[in-house]
């Protein structure tokens, strides 16, 4: 232990003040009330605005704030089946055009089975499929008794897992796009496990609407941009010209991913084509331009024809790519595009090119979602929980504080001071790291009260024993702390093991409990050992204590 009391008090003061600073936003910000300007804005240092003081309030879990927690499963089997069905239809179309006779093309599990009437057509078809559908690989072929030929195709193993991965990614993007429409603060949309998607919507009021919106099938449309600034400004005033509509592109900050600007586009109402005619979209790199990324799109036969006409008729115009009413890109049509494939190039970074490919695929192969888990807490129940949890913690701590003071006298008051500081530090740390406080988390704090006091109880009981052995108060305190220290450490480490396991396994509220419990154990070690000891040492050094009140 550091000898100099001033340094020890200094450490305590810094810890408490920093915790208080982090707690301030939570205490002050409420409804209309905001942080004072001098706090929120910080000061200017050179050209930078330095925000020294924290401005974020305690992060409350969905069970306290109210909101929805949805775990969605992406139906990959169905997505795969749809994709193979598309290939089957394409191959059939090709064979019809080329006059290749066939018995059937159908999907069988994860395989595409084509039965040709004549063996001699085998090579033609194989060549076509290999060239056009690079992700399909032949898994078997055999001559049938009646002279026909059976060909089996499937995704390559690597491509299959990539297919699944991309399907989840594109669904994630679709959901993210829609959740943005809800205008919530801090929604969370992340992958969970291998192929599931977790959506957390704090403070959502229309639960039914939100659920519906998320599970809606993605709609990708291509619409021509109306290049007329006057019409655009009219439309922005609310007078959208006949036959046009206003859509927006959400420009994200390249580093933070936050939406920083909404760029308006005036587009023709008529949809030129939808995502259905796209078979694939991938990101590729142009080696002749120093690895500049571009997006390669493939159309099915119907799409090939539509796209050839649209591009031919509108060379020089921009074609907006719109997913669920949000513009993702509006490339200029450079020339008539034939051959069923197109590329979108521009000076975008890899991330944006990737996003564009995802968007195109999302519209091309929308996947259905299954609701695996839902946890919704209405705002009123959340508010009730906060109120009751707070009251219970308050009453609990008051009882403990009272008891300690009665049972251990003046020393009990020192423990109470440690307890009080402990609360401030726990909440300060939670706020600083933006850890989530949940209802079980409040229970964790109540438990921590017990644990924090426990360390002091251990010390005081030891001190009493030392005093009974006839030691002076100073020696008794010294002996009590040093003898109890290892016991306290051992006892707390085991609890910490349980808390950490909980953290690993828990979700949502339970995780919040594990966090408060872990933080509480660590801070209670600080307050119950370091802080209370410092107070005792200070009193001992200043006053001649004959009788210790413990």
């Amino acid at each position: 232990m550091i000898k100099d009391l001033r340094i020890r008090f200094g450490i305590i003061a810094v810890v408490v003040l920093v915790s208080l600073a982090y707690l301030m936003p939570t205490l002050i910000v409420k409804d209309e009330r905001t942080l004072p300007d001098w706090w929120a804005e910080g000061f200017k240092l050179g050209n930078d605005q330095v925000k020294l003081l924290p401005s974020k309030t305690l992060h409350l879990g969905l069970d306290l704030k109210g909101g929805m927690h949805l775990l969605l499963g992406v139906d990959l089997d169905e997505a795969l089946a749809n994709s193979l069905d598309r290939f089957a239809a394409e191959v059939e179309g090709y064979m019809d055009d080329e006059g290749i006779a066939y018995e059937s093309t159908k999907r069988n599990g994860e395989e595409l089975v084509i039965i040709l009437t004549n063996t001699e057509d085998e090579y033609d078809l194989k060549e076509y499929i290999t060239e056009r559908y690079r992700i399909l690989t032949i898994t078997g072929s055999r001559t049938l008794e009646d002279g026909g030929m059976e060909l089996r195709y499937a995704y390559r193993e690597k491509d299959l897992s990539e297919f699944k991965d991309r399907t989840v990614e594109q669904t994630l993007e679709t959901i993210r796009n829609r959740v943005n429409e809800l205008g919530l603060t801090e929604p969370e949309i992340v992958r969970q496990g291998e192929y599931d998607i977790l959506v957390q919507l704090p403070g959502v009021s229309d639960m039914e609407g939100a659920k519906e919106l998320i599970r809606k099938v993605a709609l990708l449309e291509f619409k021509l941009v109306v290049e007329d600034d006057e019409m655009l400004s009219e439309a922005l005033k609310g007078n959208t010209p006949e036959g046009t509509e206003l859509v927006y592109e959400k420009v994200k900050d390249r580093e933070t991913g936050e939406i920083i600007e909404e760029v308006p586009y005036l587009v023709e109402e008529e949809t030129q084509m939808t995502g259905e005619v796209i078979t694939d979209a991938v990101i590729a790199f142009d080696s002749s331009k120093g690895g500049q990324p571009y997006v390669h799109i493939e159309f099915d036969r119907r799409g090939e024809a539509i796209f050839e006409k649209v591009s031919g008729d509108n060379v020089g115009r921009r074609l907006a790519i719109i997913l669920d009413n949000t513009v993702y890109s509006a490339p200029v049509i450079k020339s008539r595009i034939t051959g069923g494939a197109a590329i979108i190039e521009g000076s975008f970074p890899v991330d944006e090119a990737k996003e564009l490919a995802i968007v195109l695929r999302a519209g091309a192969l929308p996947a259905t979602l299954t609701l695996l888990e839902e946890r919704t807490v209405g705002p009123s129940l959340g508010a009730d929980s906060i109120r009751k949890g707070f009251l219970a913690t308050l009453v609990g701590s008051a009882l403990v504080v009272l008891f300690m003071a009665m049972y251990y006298g003046a020393s009990g008051l020192v423990a109470d001071l440690a307890l009080f500081l402990n609360m401030i530090i726990i909440l300060g740390i939670m706020s600083a790291f933006q850890a989530t406080l949940t209802l079980p988390g409040i229970a964790g704090i109540a438990l921590t009260i017990g644990m924090a006091v426990d360390a002091n109880v251990l010390v005081f009981e030891r001190v009493r024993e030392e005093l009974r052995l006839g030691k002076t108060p100073r020696a008794a305190i010294e002996g009590g702390y040093s003898k109890a220290f290892l016991t306290i450490l051992d006892a707390n480490v085991t609890t910490l093991i349980a808390a950490l396991v909980l953290f690993q396994f828990g979700t949502g509220p339970v995780k919040g409990f594990a966090i408060t419990l872990s933080v509480g154990i660590l801070t209670s070690l600080f307050t119950a050992i370091f802080v209370s000891r410092t107070v005792f040492d200070f009193v001992m050094s200043r006053f001649r204590i004959k009788r210790l009140s413990v």
Partner: protein, 311 residues
């Protein structure tokens, strides 16, 4: 102020057979109840299904709610009063239904509003857990408990000796089983937070046990001639005051939660209350006697005690 006088000396170790009997009875009752109920009463977190909590702005009885829902085509909806909640607040549980689970809560609210009037029903909470997630949570929950027990076993083995770790683990298995048993007897549901509570009880109970073990180790080193039984008994007595005070203090906080914390946290607080009570008992009456029993079964060769030094 003192509750427990410093010079007390209860014969705890000597009367350990009584403790064995009490523990055995408690465990038998717990296991018996669990068996009779066909395992723990898993809540929807583990069993899957839906939970819908609604509050009415007017007087509505439980029977009425049930009637409306049954008429609406829900098979056997379980309707309960929400513990510690407001008047006219109910929890509806549906395990199996032909209706679309995705929109079940909306359907229920619609049906209820149609019957009791628009705007009289407020949807307070929805929990829906699909079968796959339920299975997954069950597996993870079990794994977590096992991991925590193994982690504690290893730590105590390293810091003390294996036989102490064994005593500690027997004590905490004892505590978890009885806590689960209490849930089964009360017919409360075992949900995700309850597993968290049991893990906390494990951590808490071990905390008490370690304080006792620590004192035993210290006293064994000081009094090498004294029989281990007597040292244990003295150590338990010496730490008795601390054990009771700490548990009592924590219990104060947890009881406040149980009575004032509201319905959502009620079962969780109940698990903690039972766990702390049983955990305190087991660290006094179970953990050390188990170490002793192990010694009798497998006598140690050589001077084992005091061999492990601190640090």
């Amino acid at each position: 102020m003192e509750f427990i006088k410093p010079d007390i000396s209860y014969d705890i170790i000597g009367k350990r057979w009584y403790a064995y009997i009490i523990s055995l009875v408690l465990i038998l009752v717990s296991v018996g109840s669990l068996v009779l109920h066909g395992g723990p009463n898993y809540g929807i977190d583990f069993a899957g299904g839906s939970l819908i909590q609604v509050q009415f702005t007017k007087e509505v009885t439980l029977a009425e709610v049930k009637e409306v829902l049954t008429a609406a085509g829900l098979k056997d909806p379980v309707v309960q009063n929400f513990t510690g909640g407001e008047e006219n607040e109910y929890i509806i549980r549906v395990v199996e239904t032909d209706l679309d689970v995705t929109t079940l809560s909306e359907t229920v609210v619609e049906d209820l509003s149609q019957h009791f009037g628009e705007g009289t029903v407020e949807l307070r909470r929805v929990e829906m857990v699909g079968p796959r997630v339920g299975e997954d949570l069950k597996r993870k929950g079990l794994l977590a408990v096992i991991l925590a027990v193994v982690g504690i076993l290893i730590y105590v083995s390293v810091r003390f000796e294996f036989r102490y770790a064994l005593g500690a683990v027997v004590a905490l298995v004892h505590d978890s089983v009885i806590t689960l048993g209490a849930f089964s007897l009360m017919n409360y549901e075992v949900s995700l937070p309850i597993i968290a509570a049991i893990l906390t009880v494990i951590g808490y109970s071990i905390n008490d046990t370690i304080v006792v073990f620590d004192r035993i180790r210290e006293n064994l080193r000081k009094a090498r001639k004294e029989p281990e039984e007597e040292v244990m008994n003295r150590s338990i007595n010496e730490t008795l005051s601390r054990t009771i005070i700490t548990s009592g203090v924590t219990l104060l906080a947890v009881l406040a939660l149980l009575f004032l914390g509201g319905g959502v946290i009620h079962d969780f607080a109940f698990a903690l209350t039972v766990g702390i009570l049983v955990g305190t008992y087991s660290s006094i009456y179970v953990a050390s006697p188990v170490v002793l029993a192990w010694n009798k079964l497998f006598p140690q060769k050589g001077p084992a005690r005091g061999k492990k030094r601190r640090r």
